[in-house]
């Protein structure tokens, strides 16, 4: 790692890939910083991290990080990550995803990865819109919000991802926004250390598409609105459902322990073969 750097997180980035493609005011930069800060606080070895992502703005993040990174097909990142983690359980596998990628096309993979409680850390950047394709509504778009595919406002009911994933069996699930950095960093740290499926949803701003269509043109307007709409879980638990409409409930939705999927495979291997599963066996000529 370089000693001198204008940004303390720059050593973790592929400098030959900069500048990045993210729009001005996008929440992705804040979340990358929060992730790296959480990683440092968790005392993780960055060299041991492998990143996996699907398709969408948030899924471009691993491509900018100086680590092994697998930029896969739309919605399928968790299935690739599952194979990678089982193939080499020594790796710390982190998945970056968005609301369209994780909750729409990848919804089935999301609940099954949570059910398996496989030791992956998912950072799901929820900006309530398809940004890469130009502003279509997503499964998390708030009721009434405008997108190019909902020019009169969507009537659909949005998914509550952190709650959904907790219900599906994840051992750690939390939601924060890009304006609650300390909480977000704390959850990322916990998620990375949790030996099981960990999901951190980050409500984020997309001023370019969500903001422009929904009278929140500036990043500041989006951040202020997000902050105003935030309700802590402990408070939300005492509120009526009607009063929570349009609110962003932040906090932890799962924080428990149960056996992790890869551990179970290791135990089975130990019982049947007398040792852990083989690492890098494709390179062995005497297998």
């Amino acid at each position: 790692m370089e000693q001198e750097s204008p940004n303390k997180f720059l050593p973790y980035m592929r400098k030959d890939r900069l500048p990045h493609i993210f729009c001005t005011g996008c929440g992705n930069g804040t979340i990358i910083s929060a992730f790296l800060k959480g990683m440092q606080k968790a005392e993780m070895d960055f060299e041991n991290i492998a990143m996996v992502s699907g398709i969408g703005c948030s899924s471009r993040i691993p491509g900018y990080m100086e680590c092994d990174s697998l930029h896969t097909t739309h919605g399928r990142a968790l299935s690739f990550a599952t194979g990678l983690k089982v193939s080499n359980p020594d790796l710390d596998v982190v998945v970056f995803s968005g609301d369209g990628d994780a909750a729409s096309i990848g919804g089935n993979h999301l609940i099954h990865a949570a059910r398996k409680n496989i030791d992956l850390t998912v950072i799901c950047i929820n900006n309530n819109i398809y940004g890469m394709t130009g502003g279509q509504i997503s499964p998390t778009s708030p009721k009434g919000s405008i997108g190019t595919t909902a020019p009169y406002g969507t009537d659909d009911y949005p998914f509550k991802l952190a709650e959904l994933v907790a219900a599906a069996g994840a051992t750690y699930s939390a939601r924060w926004t890009t304006v609650q950095i300390d909480n977000l960093v704390g959850s990322i740290k916990k998620a990375l250390k949790n030996p099981g499926f960990s999901f951190v949803e980050v409500a984020s701003q997309c001023p370019t598409y969500f903001g422009r269509k929904n009278k929140l043109r500036t990043p500041t307007a989006m951040a202020v609105t997000m902050k105003m709409n935030t309700v802590f879980k402990s408070e939300a638990d005492r509120m009526r459902e009607k009063d929570l409409e349009g609110k962003i409930i932040v906090g932890e939705f799962a924080d428990k322990q149960r056996p992790d999927y890869t551990d179970n495979i290791q135990k089975l291997s130990e019982a049947k073969s007398g040792g852990k599963t083989l690492r890098y066996s494709a390179y062995m000529d005497d297998i």
Binding site: L70, H71, T73, T82, G83, L84, N88, L91, Y280, S281
Partner: protein
């Protein structure tokens, strides 16, 4: 030690995978392929391998690609409906040059079709199922022994050319029981790790087309993407040259090595008036029919195609030169037939035995066609 077993086709496939070094299987239950998964669920934990039952076939294909980048030879097995679901990630495996093996135990189709009956309706899906230009390697076994041997070869070819390989069997070969000899001196090709991460380019435009492949966690810090990428693996989607260079290299590394990859068996074709051509399960009836026709004094030979893709066009052309008629047998309404017709129509008439419904064409049906076509 050489083993001699009497086992089912799908079991032989699983044993071939284990022999070839496969240490991860991810799959989803589907008839008539499920015994491959069941056998590996039992056997993989005994050899330090992993078995994963995924939520669907899309995820199964994703998991084996992820696993392959983790440094493990990986496989899935399915049938037509699952193979259709896998096509998206198959395209990903081609553009990222990821060695994987996919077994498709074909059944009556389209759609849910005939789950317990044999067919060869996926042979064009194996060729063109995913979007875009790519060159698949496809092996088509006609016996339980070949199902074992071709599965081993599929892993070897996948590693040698850093590419997905398909084993296209069918319900007949999948479920029949036959003797299998497992030799202990089989050639197994391990993956090649790059010598050093210094100046290493995972997608270099090398002359032979195939680069060594590191695994995640070995310190290479590589980026792998389904987007059109440069030699470093970085997305470069606007430069026509980058795209052309990448896609042509991926195709050429297969096409330029057809001599190594293509495998066909020809019998009595030199002076034949009629050449019968087939692949997979119908080969069994074809050989009997040709022998019977020869006993009647007809000048008939046959070609058995073990690798439908890349299509062995030069060999087919040469081996049918003396023939006036070529009969193609397929358990579909004509798929590889058109490829064969393209090659031989300048010198021979082509005829098709297109048997669908799930049953193998019988030797008598084929013999009747040979007699119908003529030949002296």
């Amino acid at each position: 030690m050489t083993e001699e077993l009497f086992i089912q086709g799908n079991e032989a496939c699983a044993k071939g995978a284990l022999k070839a070094g496969c240490r991860l299987f991810a799959g989803y239950p589907i008839t008539p392929s499920t015994e491959v998964a069941e056998t590996l669920a039992k056997e993989l934990p005994k050899v330090g391998g992993s078995f994963i039952q995924m939520e669907d076939e899309i995820a199964s294909a994703g998991a084996i690609i992820g696993s392959s980048w983790g440094g493990t030879k990986s496989m899935t097995a399915t049938s037509g409906p699952g193979f259709s679901l896998m096509q998206e990630n198959i395209g990903y495996a081609f553009i990222t040059e990821t060695p994987i093996v996919i077994v498709d135990v074909q059944r009556g189709s389209p759609s849910t079709g005939q789950p317990t009956m044999a067919a060869q309706g996926d042979i064009m899906q194996a060729r063109w199922g995913s979007h875009g230009d790519y060159e698949p390697i496809v092996l088509s076994p006609s016996s339980v022994q070949e199902y074992f041997d071709f599965t081993v070869r599929a892993f070897n070819l996948a590693e040698k050319y850093r590419t997905p390989v398909f084993v296209m069997s069918d319900e007949v070969v999948g479920h029949m029981r036959e003797k299998v000899i497992i030799r202990d001196d089989l050639e197994i090709i391990p993956r090649v790790k790059p010598e050093s991460s210094e100046n290493y380019l995972p997608f270099r435009n090398v002359k032979n087309g195939t680069n060594p492949m590191p695994a995640f966690g070995q310190g290479f810090d590589i980026h792998v993407t389904g987007l059109t990428h440069d030699e470093r693996g970085y997305p470069d989607t606007d430069d026509p040259k980058t795209h052309e260079t990448l896609v042509k290299r991926i195709c050429d590394k297969i096409l330029n090595n057809k001599d190594d990859i293509c495998d066909i068996v020809a019998e009595d074709t030199e002076n034949a008036d009629i050449v019968v051509i087939s692949y997979g399960a119908p080969v069994r009836s074809m050989i009997t029919a040709v022998k019977n026709a020869q006993a009647e004094g007809k000048k008939v030979g046959y070609i058995k195609i073990n690798t439908p893709w890349p299509f062995p066009d030069e060999q087919i052309y040469e081996l049918t030169k003396s023939a006036s008629d070529v009969i193609v047998i397929e358990m579909n309404l004509g798929q590889l037939y058109y490829e064969i017709d393209r090659v031989v129509k300048c010198h021979a008439n082509t005829h098709l035995i297109d048997k669908i419904g799930g049953l193998l064409p019988t030797p008598n049906e084929i013999l009747a066609k040979i007699e119908d076509v003529g030949g002296n």
